[in-house]
């Protein structure tokens, strides 16, 4: 087991240079405001003008949620294997390599124990920048181990999800991670321990149809896209007009699925308060 008591989680380490000259400025896709990267980072990657929530890396999320120096990472060395020897237009090996280089991550989730305003919990954070945070064996295994450790240590689990679904490149091994993680959550629940699921933009498909939907409480960031099938697939299959706001957090809250929609800046205090109510 690899434990790194003090991981280097520097903000802004992986800032992307996309769109703006020298990567210093970023345009809000919602309101068009041009924001300096530093200001955006200081504001937890939320547009200061319209509250649009930009993609947040796992490292940024962990830093924003945990008390300083309390993160103990697990299984950081776990890496994906190209079991199927998958060859498409690009091979799985090449995809992994390029995303590892691009993000500095080994795969799409970071897991460990850490304290949220003093509540020591198991925390898993998915990183959408890594292959759309799809779930293959590594994501499934790390999350399962985290849940199992949390059960053994009698700790709450908090999973911050974002995902394009199960990872095609690992075929059925990916699909089976849905069963595996859900099984671990069943045992965690049997031990009467709380599990809080936080949905962020976007959380879909296989991850939605497993652990992301199984929280004792389900939270979501404002306006994030949440769903099983993508809107394009739904439109093509059904030829139906999609209702306004379809598959947003707000839409799902209205349809009875989400307990709370929480602004990024309030997530830490909200989680702490809920964990407190649940005795964790």
């Amino acid at each position: 087991m690899a434990i790194f008591p003090k991981p280097s989680l520097k903000l802004g380490k992986n800032l992307k240079k996309r769109d703006m000259p020298e990567g210093l400025w970023q345009k809000c896709p919602e309101c068009g405001e041009v924001i300096h990267q530093l200001e955006l980072s200081r504001n937890l990657k939320v547009c200061p003008k319209c509250d649009h929530h930009f993609t947040f890396s796992a490292a940024e999320r962990i830093q924003s949620l945990l008390d300083p120096d309390t993160f103990q990472e697990f299984d950081a060395e776990l890496a994906s294997v190209d079991v199927l020897n998958f060859k498409g237009v690009a091979t799985y090996r090449d995809r992994l390599k390029s995303y590892q280089a691009k993000t500095g991550l080994r795969d799409a989730v970071i897991t460990g124990f850490g304290s949220i305003e003093g509540h020591r919990s198991g925390l898993a954070v998915m990183d959408f920048n890594f292959l759309a945070a799809t779930m293959g064996s590594v994501v499934g295994e790390k999350i399962t181990r985290l849940i199992e450790r949390s059960t053994a240590d009698r700790r709450a689990v908090v999973i911050v999800s974002a995902s394009g679904g199960a990872r095609m490149y690992e075929g059925m091994l990916s699909l089976m991670q849905m069963a595996k993680t859900s099984g671990a959550l069943a045992r965690h629940a049997e031990a009467r321990l709380p599990y809080l699921s936080v949905l962020t933009h976007p959380t879909t498909a296989g991850v939605m149809a497993s652990y992301a939907s199984l929280g004792d409480l389900i939270l979501a960031e404002p306006k994030c896209m949440v769903g099983f099938a993508g809107p394009r697939v739904i439109r093509e299959t059904t030829h139906q007009e999609l209702p306004p706001g379809f598959q947003t957090a707000e839409f799902l809250k209205e349809h009875g699925f989400i307990d709370l929609i929480v602004h990024r800046r309030d997530l830490r205090s909200t989680l702490a308060r809920l964990l407190d109510y649940l005795g964790a």
Binding site: E141, A166, M172, A179, K180
Partner: protein, 322 residues
Amino acid sequence: MKPAPLDFEKPILELEKQLEELRKHSKLQAIDLEREVKSMEAKIESTRREIYQNLSAWQRIQIARHTARPFALDYLREAFTEFVELHGDRLFGDDQAMPAGFARLGQYRCVVLAHQKGRDTKENIRRNFGSAHPEGYRKALRLMRLAEKFQLPVVTLIDTPGAYPGVGAEERHISESIAVNLREMMQLRTAIVAVVIGEGGSGGALGIGVADRVLMLENAYYSVISPEGCAAILWKHRSHAPEAAEALKLTAFDLKQLGIIDAVIPEPTGGAHHDPLQTALNLRAAVLAQLDVLTKKKVSVLLEERYEKFRQMGRVLEPGMG
């Protein structure tokens, strides 16, 4: 009536037509063509063997999707007895894409859950092409709880292109209905056997697919994504589905090798639709053999083994572990 031939079966049909011509000719002209007929028959046999023993993943998918392939209710008629269909999820409605109820298999009184496709357009509309809504998964869960309460084994027959991607399904939380089934099936205190009889479409299949034993018919497929969907994303066009099918390792034999399923149930030459009754007998024997073993196990052992079975799935590279 012979089932409609698939593209790759056409060489056999062509030879069969030639054989017929030969026989007609021989009769009409009163010539002895016995030798030619014999040699043609041998050629047909070797061509059949050549084709059916080397089926590609994509060809198996064509068989799995054949409109004449036996569906769940056919097995409930031929392999099981006394099926009593039970309806509704007690929440919203009764999903006709997922019939369920009691049925006997040999000495066992079972709860059976199944995906059901339609043979024609009218029935397909009623069955939603075998794509269940949340109500289907919730009806399945209700009946699994019933099975647990009365200690009846559960048998599921999987045959779906996937859970339904529609507005209503999303509004009523199809993801949640599947996720809850995964969690609950993981700890359901009775034996579960799942059989993929045709299409094992991703989460929609897995939603009734967590089991002590997972079996697959020889030409069924089970995949994380449809080959067409995978091709559209990775090859940028659906026409590359045959390559995607190969890459995804979705056939029964591939999945047995990967440890995803426990056993492959043989189909008659050419696929289940060439002899539905024989296929039903094969399925019956295979499920019975599993029930004989599973129903003798203590529930605690069953649950421990079920957890471990799925716990082992996945391959990761772990430094220090070689």
